[in-house]
Amino acid sequence: MQDDISREDRLDWYRRMCLIRGFEEEIHNLNKAGLVQGTAHLYIGMEAIAVGACSAMNSADLLTSTHRGHGHCIARGLDTGRMMAEILGRVDGYCGGKGGSMHITDVSRGMLGADGIVGGGIPIAVGAALGVRLKGDLSVVLCFFGEGASNQGSFHESLNLAAVRRLAVVFICENNLWALSAPFAEVTAGGSVANRAGAYGIPGEKVDGNDVEAVFKAVNEAAKRARAGLGPSLLECVSYRWEGHSIFTRQEIRPAEEIQQWKQRDPINRYRARLIEAKTAASEVLGQIELQVSEQISKAIQFAKNSSLPDSETAFRNTYA
């Protein structure tokens, strides 16, 4: 990725953020219609993180994701139709309906997998970085995880291991201030995840996770460092999830005002306003993009709905290579 941001980049980022938002909103509707197989953890409100971060990736770069992974997938350019098909448990889904929302994977795009285990993907990212180095590739691995995951042992072991081996990993903590019902400060000592970088002698930085360009810049710097063989970095992107923890969640623990406040900092609206203000694009141009996005989502849903539920026989395949 280039350092300076072009108009095309900006419009593309806006498009991707809209795509994530629209995609996630539709999952709500599909769930009400009883079509989602299992659960889904929506990324609404956090779009700027995935889009900003993945925009700093080269084509050979890799990423690992979390239970809340749709945003990363879309930002990385996965096919929304196959994603939706997976969420509806259909044969044309990325995992043929076996993985569902929490396990969407597309190695052809360097997406090594969402993960149902909080903190589970972190050492896998480190391993991937170890592997690509052995293969002589210059790939960087983006490793996404929630602030809740930063209290897992795997976080600590992985940062330490990546740091002592100077591996090309960018650790991206998505601090949305809550882990299920747990408020950040109540369960996380030290007041900041970025600050934990000091324990491993690596750079740590807190970033406005609702500002796609700020995220891009921070990740791009960290990726450059990594590519130059200078080792891993830790970024804490502060944002918020607008929806309940998962589509299963009925109970809302978080204060209504807090949710309201964060909705006012909508990363998409904010970026829209900025693009218009900076005359990067007129409202109509953005409107066009929004329309295209809606169409893409409709197609994705159609694709998913047209795909059939898997035959029970497929349950017994692909346990072993």
Binding site: G153, S181, S312, T319
Partner: protein, 325 residues
């Protein structure tokens, strides 16, 4: 007697034991403010406060270790894991510490710790949220393993588990949480290590645990219409196993089927088979069989999940198979 759900029955057990003994306390992710992912710890925070109902960070290894440490100093922690799949992160503390400290110190210490966790699939959460790992713990000396199938058993067994001086792993089936049943109004304890005949019969013994007990009972009803009388035994405690009741039944029926939501290989069903084989071989008229989930991880899509999990039909057809030989 009142109709109570399995989840409410567990909640009552916790509340009663916490009222009875100020050293009983609860810790785990989202057990306080939220009342637990499956509502088993609901309203405990309000009654007992944040020192006895502890919302922890997402740190399963430390949670288990904190359970061991607090048990060592004489309190009685009850830990909740949101899914038993996450116990994989805490195996060192459970297996190398909780299970062994008493033995390693030749009885100097005890570890009165309860770990509760839901098992198995049924709501399309996939391979990392649908395992039924109880067999690992049955394998491990020093642990007790409990798996209730009814609200009354759930309450009575959890109260006994909390009073037990050993580490007890308490497995709940999430499809059972909403199931209701009669629970005695008065103090209700079910002793660990005592199996229960859930239905008497003469033609076949069917040992089933957790969710498979209700499938077994429905299967038995169906077969009864054809004049086949199945005896359904629920061990309730998987370790120590009440072999006496099982042997007695097998000696009467001469046939045995074992149903379990855990995988078959080195699983709980194979253990029951092996034990009965050792002790009742000459009483058997037919090979013992088992009904377990298929030997694959749990898939998400409904039809796949259904194909993998144990069903009532699986049990019926396997009963027939055992009876046919």
């Amino acid at each position: 007697m009142r109709q109570t759900s399995y989840a409410e029955a567990l909640n009552e057990a916790l509340r009663e034991e916490m009222r009875r003994d100020p050293l009983v306390f609860v810790l785990g992710e989202d057990v306080g403010r939220m009342g637990g992912l499956f509502k088993v710890t609901q309203a405990l925070l309000e009654e007992f406060g944040p020192e006895r109902v502890i919302d922890t960070p997402i740190s399963e290894a430390a949670i288990a270790g904190a359970g061991v440490g607090s048990a060592l100093v004489g309190t009685r922690p009850v830990i909740e894991f949101q899914f038993n799949d996450f116990m994989t992160i805490a195996m060192d503390q459970i297996v190398n510490h909780a299970a062994k400290l008493r033995y390693m110190t030749n009885g100097m210490v005890s570890v009165p710790l309860v770990i509760r966790a839901p098992v198995c699939g049924g709501i399309s959460l996939g391979a990392q949220h649908s395992q039924s790992l109880e067999s690992w713990f049955v394998h491990t000396p020093g642990l007790k393993v409990v798996m209730p199938s009814t609200p009354a058993d759930a309450k009575g067994l959890l109260k006994s588990a909390i009073r037990d001086d050993n580490p007890v792993l308490f497995f709940e089936h999430r499809l059972l949480y909403a199931q209701t049943g009669e629970v005695p109004d008065e103090e209700h304890l079910v002793a660990l290590g005592v199996a229960d005949v859930k239905r008497t019969g003469t033609d076949l013994t069917l040992v089933a645990t957790g969710r498979t007990v209700s499938l077994a009972l429905r299967a038995a009803e169906k077969l009864s219409e054809e004049g086949i009388e199945v005896e359904v035994i629920d061990p309730r405690t998987l370790k120590p196993l009440d072999t006496h009741l099982i042997f007695q039944s097998v000696r009467k029926t001469n046939r045995l089927l074992v149903a379990s939501d855990g995988w078959s290989a080195c699983g709980y069903a194979s253990e029951v088979m092996a034990t009965v084989m050792e002790h009742c071989f000459f009483d058997l008229d037919a090979p013992i069989q088992r009904v377990c989930p298929k030997d694959v991880p749990m898939p998400v899509a409904g039809p796949l999940q259904k194909a993998v999990m144990v069903s009532e039909e699986d049990i019926v057809s396997n009963c027939r198979r055992v009876l046919a030989t």
